[in-house]
């Protein structure tokens, strides 16, 4: 190693240390949302504290896609807490972007690994994942699906939201907010089957109860903040008379500043968000967003682990468990904001 390469090495180490120090020493301001099951539309029974069992062999995996999305923060917390409560290790795995091939590769690796004692899967494409679901079940690995159920039903169980119903809930709320008058539109990330169902449910509900309301074609973004901003701005120009905009995925919070700016310019469109990241909830509290259709992912993933664990213990479990979205507005947002 010559002198220059030593300096490069020293530089890399120093850079890593500095970044590591920043990451480690600087505490995140955003502590996680305290789990509060009571405000669900159909109240979920209080989770009884589960005594931590002795450490057991193996890991429960939460396999998702676009894992960098803040949407997952609460769900991973629920997953981890549930795994801890049953004495099992847990891990959140999957691609950071919308890379289906990468998710399938991880799926295959998890099935092949003796460490895997259960897989909780958020499908990006249930057709592509079907062979792996079958392989996992055949291998005796508990296989629970969240977010959107596979029509093949070869998994052991599904827990989550009926996305069509969630879309209808959003539609019902929107219909009330606009008093069945005006024009509605939607924005959502591309390539996600649960969002397809959601937007379809929303549009169909509005169409059925408010036949005079104009429903605009939805616009999509690629998941980056820049793409979201560009899509939002272009959509508002293309639909200047929009009465209500429903942002159907969980990324709306990052656009709160931009929307506030639009409101300052006189835009009267109501902005209905989805899910419960802190930035979204803060925007609801500040009156920037009119509300948010929240998915209680903490509960979903918590009980997903318990379903896998029950299967590990040879117990009988329900085939399908549907949860109900939480309608969050100014009146109840404080319950979900970080204390």
């Amino acid at each position: 190693m010559n002198v220059s390469s030593k300096w490069v090495l020293v530089g890399v180490v120093l850079l890593s240390l500095v970044a590591g120090l920043i990451g480690g020493a600087v505490p995140l301001v955003y502590t996680k949302v305290a789990h509060t099951p009571e405000p669900t539309a159909e109240p979920v029974a209080e989770v009884a504290p589960v005594a931590t069992e002795p450490a057991r062999e193996g890991t429960y995996y939460f396999l998702a896609g676009n894992n960098s999305d803040p949407f997952y923060v609460d769900g991973v917390k629920g997953f981890t807490e549930a795994a801890n409560s049953v004495g099992m290790k847990s891990e959140f795995v999957g691609p950071m972007d919308l890379n289906l091939a990468s998710q399938m590769k991880t799926f295959e690796e998890l099935i092949a690994s003796p460490e895997t004692k259960g897989i909780f899967w958020y499908p990006m494409d249930f057709n592509a994942g079907e062979p792996f679901v079958k392989a996992a079940v055949d291998a005796g690995i508990p296989m629970v699906i969240g977010a959107v159920d596979s029509p093949m039903k070869t998994r052991n169980a599904f827990i989550g939201y009926n996305n069509t119903v969630l879309g209808q809930q959003a539609g019902a709320w929107a219909a009330k907010l606009i008093d069945c008058k005006g024009e509605v539109g939607t924005i959502a990330i591309q390539s996600s089957p649960n969002l397809e169902e959601r937007v379809k449910g929303f549009n169909e509900y509005i169409k059925s109860v408010c036949p005079d309301v104009v429903i605009d074609e939805r616009a999509t973004h690629d998941g980056s903040a820049a793409s979201e901003a560009a899509t939002l701005e272009a959509y508002m120009v293309a639909h200047p008379n929009l009465t209500l905009l429903w942002w159907a995925d969980g990324a709306a919070g990052v656009q709160a500043g931009l929307w506030k700016d639009k409101q300052a310019q006189g835009v009267k469109t109501m902005f209905l968000a989805t899910d419960m990241p802190q930035a979204t909830l803060q925007a609801v509290k500040d009156g920037v967003f009119v509300g948010s259709v929240g998915q209680d992912t903490f509960t979903e993933e918590y009980w997903g682990v318990l379903l896998m664990d029950a299967l590990q213990k040879g117990l009988r479990i329900p085939d399908t468990l549907y949860l109900s979205a939480i309608l969050i507005d100014k009146t109840n947002v404080d319950k979900f904001l970080t204390k």
């Binding site: 970044a19 995140l28 955003y30 960098s68 803040p70 820049a226 120009v237 990241p277």
Partner: protein
């Protein structure tokens, strides 16, 4: 020059068609939206053209912008003065760019692989430091940097114009610009002519790192949030725009103004799919097809001239 004229004509045709075909495309508000959303990509494009002309490649720009934005956001939210946070982020961008330059230009590691790894590291740090929760709620004084309006446009357009003018002058009217072209065209010849290609490569990567850091900071200011996925996909869009503008991936060719026109075409088409209400399933197919036609038509024209 022919490329620039060709792209101006293509842009005019596409814009004219959209102006007639849609109700709101040819409105001041929509044109402002298109320009506003191009500006930060123009800043990167200006620096990236120099890098590409010099025969280098950098895939880490999205990651550098993300990590610089995130570091800035975390510092501000933890009480650091926003001016100091900006300097810290810019220094980080410069350091990462310089690191890329040393690895690629000095140690001759393939630029694609070297910067791909830097991108991974930067994105990893951005996600690791934030746990995917974007820092937000920055001081008003900081937000002014990107949100101030100038003639209805965000002030970012001024930054973009400054970047284009300065870097165009450097590329086309200075000795260092000539050296960049010569070095990108043939490195061995450039070295025989006495050009320090290693130093030049390090400078070019450092410039792109600095601009990426700047973009990360400005995105945080514009959105009042520093997302770890702030400009994902921007690098490829910028490279595509430079190539549409006649730039060569193997170096020695490229023009900032032509690249900006290529970028304009891409943004106009992206905007068009929303204006036309095209189903999201068909958007990428439409965008790709039109861009393919634009690139091929230029190639066909070139062959005819030959």
């Amino acid at each position: 020059m022919r490329r620039i004229i060709g792209l101006v004509i293509v842009n005019i045709i596409v814009i004219a068609v959209l102006a007639f075909a849609t109700k709101y495309f040819w409105t001041r508000a929509n044109l402002v939206v298109i320009i506003d959303n191009m500006t930060l990509e123009i800043v990167i494009l200006a620096g990236y053209t120099l890098l590409l002309v010099g025969g280098y490649f950098d895939l880490s720009v999205d990651g550098v912008a993300a990590v610089c934005g995130v570091v800035l956001g975390l510092l501000i939210n933890n009480g650091t003065n926003w001016v100091i946070a900006i300097f810290a982020s810019l220094i980080l961008g410069i350091a990462i760019g310089m690191f890329n330059g040393v690895v690629v230009a000095k140690f001759k590691v393939n630029g694609l692989i070297a910067t791909l790894t830097t991108w991974w590291i930067c994105i990893g740090f951005s996600l690791g430091m934030t746990k995917a929760i974007s820092p937000y709620n920055f001081p008003d004084a900081f937000q002014v940097l990107a949100q101030t309006k100038v003639f209805g446009f965000r002030v970012l357009i001024i930054y973009a114009i400054i970047a284009v003018v300065i870097l165009s002058v450097i590329l086309h009217w200075t000795r260092i610009g000539s050296r960049i072209y010569v070095s990108g065209d043939n490195k061995q010849s450039a070295e025989l002519m006495g050009i320090d290609t290693v130093k030049l490569g390090i400078i070019l990567y450092t410039l792109v790192g600095l601009l990426a850091g700047f973009v990360g900071i400005m995105m945080a200011s514009r959105l009042d949030a520093a997302s770890p996925s702030t400009v994902d996909g921007m690098t490829l869009r910028v490279i595509a725009a430079i190539v549409i503008g006649g730039g060569s991936l193997s170096g020695g060719k490229g023009n900032i103004i032509a690249g900006v026109l290529g970028l304009l075409l891409m943004h106009v088409l992206s905007n068009a799919v929303i204006q036309l209400g095209i189903s999201p399933y068909w958007q990428k197919a439409m965008l790709g097809s039109v861009l393919l036609v634009a690139v091929l038509s230029e190639k066909i024209n070139l062959k005819r001239r030959i």
